[in-house]
Symmetry: D2
Subunit: 363 residues, 4 copies
């Protein structure tokens, strides 16, 4: 199933080393201003080849708008976006076409379909997330212009390293999306050592949405948190999702966790902005765990497509920490979920005006 969303429906296609990747964004309200240049900033944030800490593959990621936009605005018909692959090196993968790389989707695609496209992971490559980020550019615009909702994120953990400060101004000023400028040299050394060792490491990304009004989310199987969880878990290499305090809630007392409120605002936000699957008007707080990349030049024990034992060594161009480039992808998925839920809320509850009383978010 390559379509995401119920009313804002994003269908992506394309393989890592095929001729192109693309998406169709269906259900867009008419009148949203969109130009090819709008996609460049977020695609650049996600792109490979920008620092020595990420994969060296270089793609222009130039977006062609094929439909759905007339005279610079969406028309209500499906917006199709196309990005040509220009730096695919299929031959890098000849060596491993007959092997299943440990920790990869090679074996599971093979088992599911009885075949696979081995070039660069084919459809299972993170290259696919390019189009999620592209589609979310439209969602971010609409959310900001129509609802004042803003989505942003940062790298909240890199292996053992935790931020010592959380400064939004720092995040976009370093290649790690790290919220503490002072730690950047430390991260550089960390990554250099890691790359030298031939190993990889996991990471945690936190994404936040501000301005979300209370009322978005559909009980009981289309809950806002449930759809965020699915959205994040659908990103390559994700192994865990938390809303608000997440797993820390396990050890909390109810008297602490429950966010008390006064007419002047909520007094805490342990819930991360969602109660009963519906937004509370507080900040949405989502945290995502990325596993370490499995493509390593360190040899591993594996099996080939004949069923024989092999030693697998992955060359090619890979990220030693996929989490580093994941911040814009997590933002994208959160934005797509929010826009979809906003449209669904409008469909069912458009009759209901603004409801009193409104409790302001925690100051």
């Amino acid at each position: 199933m390559n379509t995401f969303g119920q009313l804002l429906r994003v269908t992506t296609f394309g393989e890592s080393h095929g001729p192109a990747i693309g998406c169709v964004v269906d259900g867009c309200p008419p009148g949203i201003e969109i130009a090819p240049a709008d996609f460049a900033p977020d695609l650049a944030r996600r792109a490979t080849g920008k620092s020595r800490h990420v994969s060296a593959r270089h793609e222009d990621d130039a977006v062609e708008i094929l439909s759905g936009v007339h005279e610079g605005r969406t028309t209500g018909t499906p917006v199709a976006l196309l990005v040509r692959n220009t730096d695919a090196r299929g031959k890098d993968y000849d060596a491993i076409a007959g092997q299943f790389r440990p920790g990869h989707a090679d074996y599971t695609y093979w088992q599911k379909y009885g075949t696979r496209d081995p070039r660069g992971g084919g459809r299972s490559s993170a290259r696919e997330t390019t189009m999620r980020v592209a589609a979310a550019v439209i969602a971010k615009k609409w959310l900001a212009q129509r609802h004042g909702v803003h989505v942003r994120g940062y790298l909240a953990q890199l292996g053992e390293v935790l931020p010592r400060a959380c400064d939004w101004a720092a995040v976009e000023a370093n290649p790690f999306f790290w919220p503490d400028a002072a730690q950047v040299p430390e991260l550089e050394s960390y990554m250099d050592a890691l790359r030298k060792s031939g190993d990889s490491v996991g990471a945690r990304v936190t994404v936040v949405a501000t301005g979300v009004p209370p009322g978005w989310g559909e009980p009981v199987y289309g809950k806002l948190d449930a759809e965020i969880a699915a959205a994040m878990m659908s990103i390559n290499a994700v192994k865990g999702v938390e809303i608000g305090d997440g797993f820390a809630s396990v050890m909390q007392r109810g008297s602490v966790h429950r966010d008390q409120a006064t007419p002047d605002g909520f007094l805490s936000n342990h819930a991360g902005g969602i109660l009963g699957g519906i937004s509370s008007g507080q900040q949405l707080l989502v945290s995502v765990a990325f596993k370490p990349t499995s493509s390593l030049r360190l040899p591993a024990r594996g099996v080939d497509i004949e069923g024989k034992a092999v030693e697998v060594v992955t060359t090619g161009r890979h990220d030693p920490c996929v989490g580093i480039r994941a911040t814009p992808i997590c933002e994208a998925m959160l934005a797509l979920v929010l826009m979809d839920q906003a449209l669904r809320h409008r469909a069912q509850c458009g009759d209901v005006g603004e409801v009193s009383p409104r409790i302001p978010p925690q100051a």
Copy 2:
């Protein structure tokens, strides 16, 4: 959206203190043997009123089969199940009908719909999960009989307490679903003290599926792990979901995390049985975080429906740790996801026979 699943579609209805709760299970293959008595064991495992550690509400949870079964077998038409509410005490809630209980869905339903059913949390009550467990009885049966897949779970953490052993035989022999019989007295004391304090605590539930063949799960937006994440997060009070090593992956090295394999089997299962969103044939490992109950007799600062500050005290019958009864609910959601994905896999890949080579799960 009160329907769950794409091909096995479970629609639930009913409020905590309405006349009845029920579900419609659509898409069931024909020929599954089902009798009213089949539902009793799992509903009893989930039920309130079974020990002093859970809510005292007593419901018979007698299931009436309204359709879809003829001469003891499913016919392929929708299976409708009905459970009458018999111990609803709406008047317990009169006091709080005009207030928003902190940490509850009261405020968010009010904001979404401009109205709410305040009796027992209405639709947001965990009473709704009764029907998930009932629907999953069918899924568990089909999975076991057709595919040899078994789903089971246990309480993996209660507040600060962690199991010291993991013995499946112990799990069903205590009211906590705890895998270490020796610790049960400790848990009893822990819960007694908690109840006396008027407070509540969170918990962690782990669910495991064995026998899942490789190949279930749909890239890229219907991934097995993504749908499990949504399923778990749709359960009341859940704040986090992990697959395999989950958040522990953040600090792991790739050389450790990637599950190496030989023709005799996988050598580890950090991935929790899913790679690229598709089952690998290993055990599925899912871990879920439950927040502490927000309904406490300890007073909290809140807001009433006029927007005025109030002190909220919750009486009624509540669980001091909702996680205690959550094991069968988590099992249910995993079983529903698996059956749905099994049907989806059969639809698309039924042409493909069993694929070689098969790597056995870790011994």
Copy 3:
């Protein structure tokens, strides 16, 4: 698939001779006033046992509201409705349990599922349409109150008999929903003769919606006319659907068919109120063909479940013309489609206010 609609989702369940039939209406806006008594008028219009021209089965069709309504208004959670079957005579069908009745779904259900519930046609019985009519009571109310949209229908042909006048006042004053009071005696004789002969006959029903604003319907695969066609064709015994001039368009010239317009209004309505799959603001005109009932006491050649030739004679209680009771069912399906499309339109195009210029419908 027993769910109808994308945003207003109606799931029905129940067999003709099972304990009950019911439905879940999900996606209802909150605040719609609904009481059990609201369902009675339309269910009575559809009911059997009302005249000698329809089946003699007598059901009370008393609707129990199980959820989704609090203090007389919808809350936004799923509305579940239940009707107990009280006059099912399963034993009428013992004789045919081992045979496939010609022209019935007996054989096709058997082939699909390898089993079937033979009592009264099981799930394939028109009894299921009771819940469509019940669900549509909510849709009709919302459409009328919020949008001024009204849906009504009449019997436009009974066998060879065509109406000589079209008077809405006559329609509800006779058991045929016939629009010409003067012809009712003729129809009575026609039906008496038919019943005496042991045979049955087909019919045509026309349904009309007034007040539909321009803009409802989703290109290109959720077109208003496409969804109406599916809705009508999903009714038992329907073999054809027309929008506007329908099959008469085949012989028309474009200069005649295209509905010209002036600022004072459209000059004709050959299109039946839909252009490009979107409502034009004109009356919606839909015409539906019903085949003659296949359950006859006249013997037919058939096959039994052993594959042997048999002579099939159907006793039981059947309608000699199913079209007679079909008018409220066709209305129901049109109302459900319209409410669903209204919600979908609001979701995507709620940003767009009323658009100028508006061309009035044909006077």
Copy 4:
């Protein structure tokens, strides 16, 4: 909603005069052989510019496969197809950009979205059907190879002209898909006179599927006939759909209509191969009414976007009878519905083997 199908999901995009049109076919089983050349024959059958009786627009309709195919076979990931528009003449439409053409979607798109792409009808153009035909090439292949199902069609009426014979060999040998070779000169004269008059005319297309096994189709809202009706009605200019005897059933007696059977086969096929929404194993017979084209050089009374009365004269390149090129489009929609239903049947009923007794189709 620009996606068609539940398990075989076709998403199309593109405007008549935009840079390209395309589609994504998701849910394809792996292993289907597909090459760019496979699309040429059916696209040529549908194409404009092939005879003087259809629009003179000339498009190469060269299909680029962007994803989902590796080494000549589908991999199970989404198949994306792209066709560049090469002969779009946007300026032909400058004159009518400020007018609503009578009988067109101009006005309804404008009302829905508050905007529209006026060039060639934008998204509402029949150009979109190119991608339906392309997608269905895959479906036709799979249906034929896996199930021996074949879909074909012919023009069953052109204005007042009816075929005097029905010879499949004739159909592909004339530009009208007419089943009687002897009548072709008559049709040529008919169309020449029509074109000279500046007017247009409607048509009827009949499509037939052979080899469909009994059991496809999902009661009660995913019936095979209901989905065929929606599929056909979603084609531009369609105003009516019939299954089997269709509207002729209205005047039939049940003793005639019900298809009797013996162990050697059905004795008739009035039902058109569908009973209770499920295929019976007989030929599927579907008939579709096309309205006459509304784009005429004959002036019509209309309204402009300022709301003023205007005289509308359409130049540009148009078909005087859209039905002439519609046969492959109707075939395509039937093939897509059948493949989708085949996959859905396999999902739910894959457990059930071939069921006895099988009644052969009418000889």
